[in-house]
Structure formats: C-alpha cells, structure tokens
C-alpha cells in the first residue's frame, strides 16, 4: 500500500519542483503549496500507513492498541501544515509587494538586490 503513496508523494514533489522552477512568481508560490503537501505525504508514508484507526486511546484502555495509526508523524505533520501555511502567506504577500514595487512578476527581471551591471569592488587599500 505504501508503494502507491510513495508514488503519489513523488508526483507531488515533481509537480512542486516544476512549478517552483517557473520564472513566474505566482506559479512558484503554487509550487510551494504543493511542496508542503509533498513533504507531509512523505512524513505520513515514512511512518507507515494504517487504515482508519486514529491514535486515540479508547475509554477504559491505558495505551494505544497495536493497530492504531502512528501518532508521531501526525504530530509532525499537524504543526508542519500550520507553519507551511504561514510561510505561504508570507511569501504571497512578499511576492505581491515585490510586484507592486518592481512592476514585474518575472523573476528574471527582478534584479533589485543583484543588479545586472554591478560595479567591481574598488581597488587599492
């Protein structure tokens, strides 16, 4: 069963990378959303898949039954989802502001930090 989902995680990753490599800010952003999902799926699969039994200890029991899902990847993913959303929101606003200030959303033309004709450092002491 893990095999299918390994494949799915790989597909997510590939799609994310392809979009991120675009020179287009908005596509790059969408790629980052996909990248978050790819990572979450990877975590889930690496912690092994268990069908339908959530890691919740039933009343009257002291410990998790053996057939319950692995709780650790879930805890990792839960926080990862929120963090990647924060990152996404930040990047989205950053891209938006960069677009407003620089007048372009093409990363090739965003040369504010590293200008094309940067002068060489001064010689001498």
């Amino acid at each position: 069963m893990e095999a299918w989902f390994s494949l799915l995680a790989g597909l997510f990753f590939a799609a994310a990378v392809y979009l991120i490599l675009s020179k287009h800010l908005i596509r790059t952003l969408i790629g980052i959303v996909l990248l978050g999902n790819a990572v979450n799926l990877t975590l889930l699969v690496a912690g092994r898949l268990t069908r339908e039994v959530p890691p919740i200890i039933a009343d009257g029991l002291d410990r998790l039954p053996g057939n319950a899902a692995n709780p650790l990847p879930q805890a990792l993913i839960l926080t990862a989802i929120v963090i990647s959303f924060s990152l996404f929101a930040f990047l989205l606003v950053l891209a938006y502001r960069a677009y407003r200030v620089l007048g372009t959303d093409d990363t090739d033309r965003m040369r504010f930090a590293e200008p094309v004709d940067e002068p060489a450092p001064p010689k001498g002491y």
Partner: protein, 139 residues
C-alpha cells in the same frame, strides 16, 4: 459581497463556528481537535464575517488587535511552560489540578493553558493576515 442571503446567514454561521472552535479546542486532549484546529476554525468563522459585513465590523467585534491576541496567546503558552518552574519540575512539565465545580470534577492543567495559548496565537496571527488582505482588496 453584498448578497443579502450571505449577510443574513453569516452572523449565525460565525457564532456557531466560534462555539464549535471552542468545543474543538477543549475536547482536543481526548478526541480529535486541539488548539491548532480550533484556532483555524475560529479564523475561518471571523473571515466569513469579515467577507459579509466588512473588516471593520470584525475588528470592532474582537475588540483587540489580532496581533495583540496572538502575542497574548504566546504569553499564555510561555506561562504554561514556566509554571513548572514554580512547582520545581523541568520546563514544560504538565501540571494537573482537579477542581470541583457544582459537584462535578473538572480537570485543569498547564497543558490546557498551553493549548489555549496555541489557539490564540493561531487565531490572532492568521486573522491578522486574512483581515489585512481583505482590506487590501477593498482599497
């Protein structure tokens, strides 16, 4: 959005969702839920309200600046962590007190306080983002 139906339904939806978010937060320790999820539900609720009645309405309704709420949440979480110092146990060790209210036992804990902090941070920070973007839309 000026749809009258949406405007009429929105307040009910929002209050129901807010109530639900608190419910999710409080039961989180023993059933699916918790601070993160509860916070997200609350944000969604208030975002809907904002979309229906305008961002200003929401800002008035929550009284405090969203980031203040988030900062207060972080403060609560830190307090929950440092409470263990007062009890002489390592940082973040959970402390439990059982209080009897009206004859039923209610378990209070520093962990609960921590989760409440998480809830407030998520509500505050994400709401700040969503409201700011909604406003930006209107400008």
């Amino acid at each position: 959005m000026n749809s009258p139906i949406f405007r009429t339904v929105a307040p009910f939806l929002t209050s129901l969702m807010l109530l639900f978010s608190l419910f999710v937060l409080l039961r989180g320790h023993n059933a699916p839920g918790g601070g993160f999820i509860g916070g997200l539900v609350a944000v969604a609720a208030l975002a809907i309200h904002g979309a229906a009645w305008g961002v200003e309405t929401v800002r008035r309704a929550i009284v405090f600046h969203p980031l203040s709420i988030a900062a207060f949440g972080l403060f609560l979480s830190c307090i929950a962590g440092f409470a263990s110092a007062a009890a002489g146990v390592p940082f973040m060790t959970g402390l439990w007190v059982t209080v009897h209210v009206l004859g039923s036992a209610v378990a209070l804990s520093s962990v609960m306080l921590f989760d409440l902090g998480v809830y407030l941070v998520v509500v505050g920070a994400l709401l700040a983002i969503v409201l700011a973007l909604e406003e930006e839309e209107g400008v």
